[in-house]
């Protein structure tokens, strides 16, 4: 399972970085989303991967899994979700004002 999680994180990061290096807004936004998914899975794994145990202490359960990464990942999801919404709105604004969806600036506007 560790191998599967590690491969998922690596693959999503690679896809994210590839897409961010495109010059159009849509691939860049999808790439940023992929990168934040990779990041969320990575944070989740940072508390060690344990199967089938609750994230709280319970007398009935055999043990528990670290609850803190779950709290961290929740915060990270909320923030990345909000930020993605912001960049989508700004990209739409830029597209409507400029008439193209290129993310690089031409020489004089730089």
């Amino acid at each position: 399972m560790e191998l599967l999680v590690a491969m998922a994180v690596g693959l999503m990061t690679a896809v994210g970085i590839y897409l961010i290096l495109r010059l159009r807004t849509f691939p860049v936004i999808v790439g940023l989303a992929m990168l934040s998914y990779a990041c969320n899975v990575f944070i989740f794994a940072s508390g060690r991967i344990v199967a089938g145990l609750p994230p709280i202490l319970s007398p009935d359960a055999a043990g528990y899994t670290d609850p803190l990464p779950q709290a961290l990942v929740l915060t990270a999801i909320v923030i990345s979700f909000g930020m993605t919404a912001v960049i989508v709105m700004m990209a739409l604004g830029a597209f409507l004002e400029a008439g193209d969806d290129r993310i690089d600036l031409e020489g004089d506007a730089e």
Binding site: S46, L72, L105, A109
Partner: protein, 501 residues
Amino acid sequence: MGHWIITPVVLPAVMGAFSVLLLRNDLGLSRIFSTAATALLLAITGLLLHAASVNGPEVYFLGNWPAPFGIVLVLDRLSALMLMLTALLALVVQLYAIGSGWDARGKHFHALWQFQLMGVCGAFLTGDAFNLFVFFEVLLIASYGLMIHAGGRDRLKAGVQYVAFNLVGSTLFLFALATIYSVTGTLNMADLAVKLPDLPAGDFALIRTAGVMLLMVFAIKGALVPLHFWLPATYAQAPGPVSALFAVMTKVGAYAVIRCYTLIFPDTLPATGALFADLLLPAAIVTLAVGALGMLGASSLQRLVAFGAITSMGTLFVAIAQFTPQATGAALYYMLHSTLAAGAMFLIADLVLSRRATGSLDQIRPPLPQHGLIAALFMVAAIAMAGMPPLSGFLGKLMILDATRGAQMALIWSAILGSSLVMILGLARAGSTLFWKTHATPGTCPPHAAQPLAFVAVFALLIALAGLTVAAGPVMEWLTLTAAELHDPQAYIAANRLEGL
């Protein structure tokens, strides 16, 4: 200081919400309330500064949770100083925004301004690495709004780039924090400082990776080469007062580097040693060179000042990278100076831009309305920014040079002195194109409103610079104690009361 420690976060948060909910249709009232809140913030930070220098570090436990588990805010001399600097710059620049009418060109300027202050103050106060990430995001999301305030094609395009760059930075920050957490099981900065020296050798590679990723995040914030690409376009396209406030945002990166790499990763740490200093110093010197050359080649006044901000970050990081108490003290003095100088310079660039509709340096144009006054202000601010005597930039650079000892001395001296010369050339070229040769050109610029409040704001920043120069002795004494406290963080760690568990 008890509950006063959290007021720099709570006051702007409440004021921002208040102004977005109740005052959004009344510009006059939101100006009054927002300025009053910032003035109150300045008064409170003055109080906190006094408390921090008398009592030493003090910790505020949010929700009264004990330290490594709950989130803490830590008030020490460095964070109190940065809070006061932020509040001072914000108040003055806010007066400029009101005086020049920038805040009337779009909705929610004052609400975003307050949220921005909340994020910056929170980032300076927090003693928890994940909470630092959260406050970074708060200040960034407000800065996205301020950056595209008043809209326009070029501003929106530059804004999209700025947001994309910072989102990548945030992701990197999270990867670094998750790595640190998986190795140590804590994210409280004081707890990390206690736990990292006892790390087993097998985890050294992981913590080194995390430390370098964290350094890259702060380098993005501090516009350190090779992660400075976002800055010139962003600062050149943002509204003038917003760029001036952003002068303190690059300092958030510098603050985070000072805090993390003296507290969590000092050079006595067996896992990392002098790794970060070795990475930071070459990057800082290249930043200096890139900034100075950019100033020489800038095509508009806004870009010139933006590259000036990069140069000052380079100088600052050269001092920080030495990680000695004396160099840190000099870095703090230069940080105060460069924040105020860059703020003043961005405001002057905006004065020129608003009178001429372009800050272009490519051709000579007719004289501006209020020509002599603006030219004189530019001259003073240019002297400050280039680090010429008699203003504080000169003293700051002198102290950095004086604090430089050892093998890199020749390299650092020549980098700082050489870049200063190139900066003077760049500023002189801009000044002569903008102000000096104009009288030989036929025609006049259209008349423009006098804007007394805007000039008062610029004067206030220049007077603050002069005050910093005159009071250099006592200020430096205070900063030396601050640097000593940073390089011996026992009091900071003890304030977290980790051993009470």
